[in-house]
Symmetry: C2
Subunit: 99 residues, 2 copies
C-alpha cells in the first residue's frame, strides 16, 4: 500500500464511528434502494423525526449522503453506492467469523 493510500487513523475512525450506529445503518440500507425524504424515513423505520434528522446530519457531515430540498421536503441520497459495497465487505468478514 502506497503511503498516499495510508489514511490518518483519526479520520478513518471518524468515518467508522459515523457508520457504527444501528439507526444510521438502517438509513443507509433504505437509501441504497433510492433517495427518500426525512419524514418517510422516520415513519418507515418507526423513529422520531428529530432523531432521524440528526442521524442524517451526521451522515451528511462525513459525506456519505447529500440532500436536496424540494418544496417542504428534503430528500437524502447516498453519495456513492460504494458505501453499500463497503458493507458487503463487512458482511463477508462477519460471515467468515460466524458472527
Amino acid at each position: 500500500m502506497r503511503t498516499k493510500d495510508r489514511l490518518d487513523y483519526k479520520v478513518q475512525a471518524r468515518l467508522l464511528r459515523a457508520l457504527a450506529n444501528e439507526t444510521r445503518l438502517k438509513i443507509i440500507d433504505v437509501l441504497s434502494r433510492g433517495e427518500e425524504h426525512v419524514g418517510a424515513l422516520a415513519e418507515g423505520m418507526g423513529a422520531e423525526q428529530s432523531t432521524v434528522s440528526k442521524h442524517l446530519a451526521i451522515l451528511r457531515a462525513i459525506g456519505v449522503v447529500d440532500d436536496e430540498r424540494r418544496g417542504n421536503e428534503v430528500y437524502y441520497r447516498l453519495v456513492t453506492p460504494c458505501v453499500v459495497n463497503f458493507f458487503s465487505c463487512a458482511i463477508d468478514v462477519m460471515k467468515e467469523r460466524g458472527i
Copy 2:
C-alpha cells in the same frame, strides 16, 4: 442480496463500533504485518499497557483477533486478513469522497 446475507443492524453496528477507534485501528495495522505481544504493541504505539490490553479485549470479543500465551507474553494476531481488505475498501470510499 439474499436474506441470509442481510445482517442484523445491531450486530453490524457492534462490529463497526469495535473498529471505530483510532488506537484499535493502529493495533490492527500493526497486526496486519504479523503477530505481536501486548507489551510490544503498547511500547510501539506509545500507549499504556492497560489501554492496549483493553482494546485488544474488545477486538478479541468480536473475533477480529485471537491470542496465544507463550510464557509470560500473550501474542495477538488478526484472525483474518480480510479485515485489512475491509479497510482498503473504506479507504477507497474516503478517497472517492475526498476525505
